[in-house]
Amino acid sequence: MLKDLCRRMFGRSLWVYHANSGGCNGCDIEVLNVLTPYYDVERFGIKLVGSPRHADVMLCQGAAMRSTARALRRAYEAIPEPKLVFAIGSCACGGGIWHDSYSVIGPVEKIVPVNYYIPGCPPRPEAIIYGVAVAVGLVDKKTAPVQFKQAEFPIPRYHPSDLKSDGEVVVYEKLDRV
């Protein structure tokens, strides 16, 4: 359904708003690359706009930070419906290597609902174009764009502080709070 909606609403023009909520710049410059001559996404009608009120799509880069969460949420709310959110890069998709640091909330999906994930650190320009092209129905998907839910794919996670040493054996205690 999402795909049909995308094709109907955004097929010929996709105006994107870029929100870096606290990333390192690496994804930013790759997104910038996508807009310039070698990759040139304007041929698909994709254009970067300066105001969330003009945008169809929000590109999120960087993990959700405690200091930018509020601004990110407001930017999302300012985009008129229907709207899509892309999480670009490992930090936006999963929180990155600092996902549990004191100033980081985690992946951007904790603040705004995310429709598509483009992982990579940083993702290649080709990967970004492919992700967007799949979303607007220009190419067939090779993987299903599903939202990841922790409950359906339980992965045991361990925290370094929970590794308890018992003589020569290291005991891993499964952690719920991650």
Binding site: H18, N20, S21, L32, P37, S67, S101, Y102, V104
Partner: protein, 562 residues
């Protein structure tokens, strides 16, 4: 005068002036000085070093050393660029009363660094004129200092108030506040400026940044190990990442006395210069975009792309090269890769001449940038501006020459300076530096000989040693301070990115300028907020949404600043 003699002379001068206040001095003889001083005299000593001995202020570091010595530690780092000496002035503070005299009235450049250690470590800079919160999020409660050793890296205080708004200062009389950010449309990172505007003129501003503060230093001190950290260090910044990973491993090597094979040093140098190339090309493109010259923006990105491909061929990734480990590098450069690199450089040199001619021959760009965002030599000294910003003001500082590291001591290059101090001079400096970088890479390829690329580091690294490292990033000097520690990880690691100092100069650069020139003046320091860091867009009083985006400002200036 050799470096060791210069160090000794500096120490003798300090001893002669301050006598017993100089408690201890370590001179490892490699251009580093660690002088432990009496905390009561720190302000006077810093003033003397900064004003009379002509040192350049680098950074101040606060550290919680209580688990090891029961004390807090503050280091004020200075650089004697002419002599190639980096000097740390250390003060030990009692564990129950961490406070010392602020030096920011005699060394204005220390303003942010002191506010940062007040936030993160809880050391009070007594007499600081503006001790406002700098780094921590708005809702973070007072009195919780995440870089203290008794606070875990994932501790978020229970009384963290998500809805608390940052208290901005009142605007001066007759001025209107124009909020700028935190999300800019032209691919910048989050940072918020509140500009005080009178008519069209900017009279001042307040900066609320550090929104990309990710707690990197804390993670390094508590979770990762020595050889994990280079991978995180290069994610401090997506543009100058290799700079930070090299600076970090050099700080460890400096502290622990690890010697790096010569070939590894050449490879580090080549990758650092590759990074400077792609960063300067990116910046010139963005600067042209900001002043409304989009053709050159597209051109410089077209020219830049082969460098990214080359980086991928050399290291396996377009960015975040995962190059450095303590004691060497991970990727060698094969002969055929070297030949391909030469080909890329030849094309780049030819095409870049075309861009330089287009920019220098364009009257519009000059009209938009000459006399804008001026920083004079006094501002450079007081605020500690570095890199192309300082060099465009005629201050010839360049870590590659002044504090040689990696293979820079073995290659010849010129330090480019200009006299104007304005945005135009910064454009010229960066454009010329591209040619110097191409020359450095060619010399490295000529000079490097086959050999090992990784030193064996078998023994555990010694504990409690200090290391300093300065690396010339595309934006200026990146400085890392490190204390080695137990458990295969550093005890304290402090990163000072070039933008940290350069951003402090922005309020002075934009004062009494046209509002429309704000973007290019800010852009001209090549701000990199993620390096530095590690809001609010609605005018609260009127409730009116009036965000001035960069694009609005660009539109305004195209209309001639209507």
């Amino acid at each position: 005068m050799s470096i060791a003699m210069a160090e000794r002379a500096k120490l003798e001068a300090l001893r002669a002036r301050f006598g017993a206040a100089i408690r201890r001095a370590d001179l490892p003889g490699n251009g580093r000085m660690f002088v432990t001083v009496d905390p009561a005299a720190i302000r006077e000593i810093c003033r003397h070093v900064f004003r009379e001995m002509g040192a350049r202020y680098v950074i101040s570091i606060g550290a919680d050393d209580r688990p090891f010595s029961g004390e807090f530690l503050v280091a004020h780092n200075f650089a004697f660029d002419g002599d190639g000496v980096l000097c740390g002035l250390l003060a030990h503070l009692p564990g129950d009363r961490p406070a010392l005299d602020s030096i920011s009235d005699v060394v204005p450049a220390a303003n942010w660094a002191e506010r940062e250690f007040r936030d993160l470590v809880g050391i009070e800079p007594m007499g600081h004129r503006y001790p406002k919160r700098l780094v921590l999020p708005d809702g973070w409660p007072e009195g919780v200092h995440p870089l203290r050793k008794d606070v875990s890296w994932d501790d978020v205080p229970k009384d963290f108030d998500e809805d608390l708004e940052f208290k901005f200062d009142e605007a001066p009389d007759g001025c209107v506040v124009v909020p700028f950010g935190p999300f800019h449309p032209t691919l910048d990172e989050p940072a918020h400026f509140r500009l005080y505007v009178e008519g069209e003129m900017v009279r001042g501003c307040e900066y609320r940044g550090f929104m990309a503060h990710r707690g990197i230093e804390k993670l390094a001190e508590s979770v990762l190990s020595y050889n994990d950290i280079p991978m995180m260090a290069e994610r401090i910044c997506g543009i100058c990442g290799c700079v930070h990973s090299v600076a970090y491993v050099q700080a460890v090597e400096d502290a622990a006395g690890v010697r790096v094979p010569e070939r590894a040093e050449y490879i580090r140098t080549i990758m650092l210069e590759m990074e400077r190339l792609h960063s300067h090309l990116l910046w010139v493109g963005l600067a042209c975009h900001i002043v409304g010259f989009d053709t050159l923006f597209m051109q410089s990105f077209r020219i830049r792309e082969p460098i990214m491909w080359m980086a991928e061929r050399m290291t396996g990734n377009r960015k975040t090269y995962a190059l450095c480990l303590v004691g060497g590098v991970r990727w060698d450069i094969a002969p055929e890769t070297g030949a391909a690199l030469r080909g890329v450089l030849d094309t780049l040199e030819k095409e870049w001449r075309g861009v330089v001619d287009a920019v220098t021959g364009d009257r519009n760009i000059q009209a938009r940038t000459r006399g804008v965002g001026v920083a004079g030599p006094d501002l450079v000294k007081d605020v500690g501006l570095v890199g192309p910003v300082a060099r465009a003001s005629g201050v010839a500082i360049d870590c590659r020459r002044d504090h040689p590291y990696a293979a820079y001591g073995r290659v010849a290059f010129e330090v480019i300076t200009e006299r104007g101090g304005d945005v135009w001079s910064r454009i010229v400096v960066r454009m010329k530096e591209v040619f110097e970088s191409i020359g450095i890479i060619r010399q490295c390829l000529d000079k490097m000989s086959p050999g090992p690329i990784q030193a064996r580091v078998d023994d555990e690294l010694p504990v409690g040693r200090m290391g300093l490292s300065s690396v010339e990033a595309p934006r200026g000097e990146a400085h890392h301070f490190l204390v080695t520690g137990e458990g295969n990880r550093p005890r304290r690691w402090r990163v000072r990115a070039p933008t940290y100092q350069n951003l402090q100069g922005v309020p002075a650069m934009i004062r009494d300028q046209q509002l429309a020139d704000m973007t290019i003046a800010l852009g001209s320091i090549d701000p990199c907020f993620s390096c530095t860091d590690r809001m609010e867009t609605v005018d609260v009083r009127s409730g009116l949404r009036r965000t001035w985006t960069q694009e609005d400002l660009v539109r305004l200036l195209k209309k001639g600043g209507a």
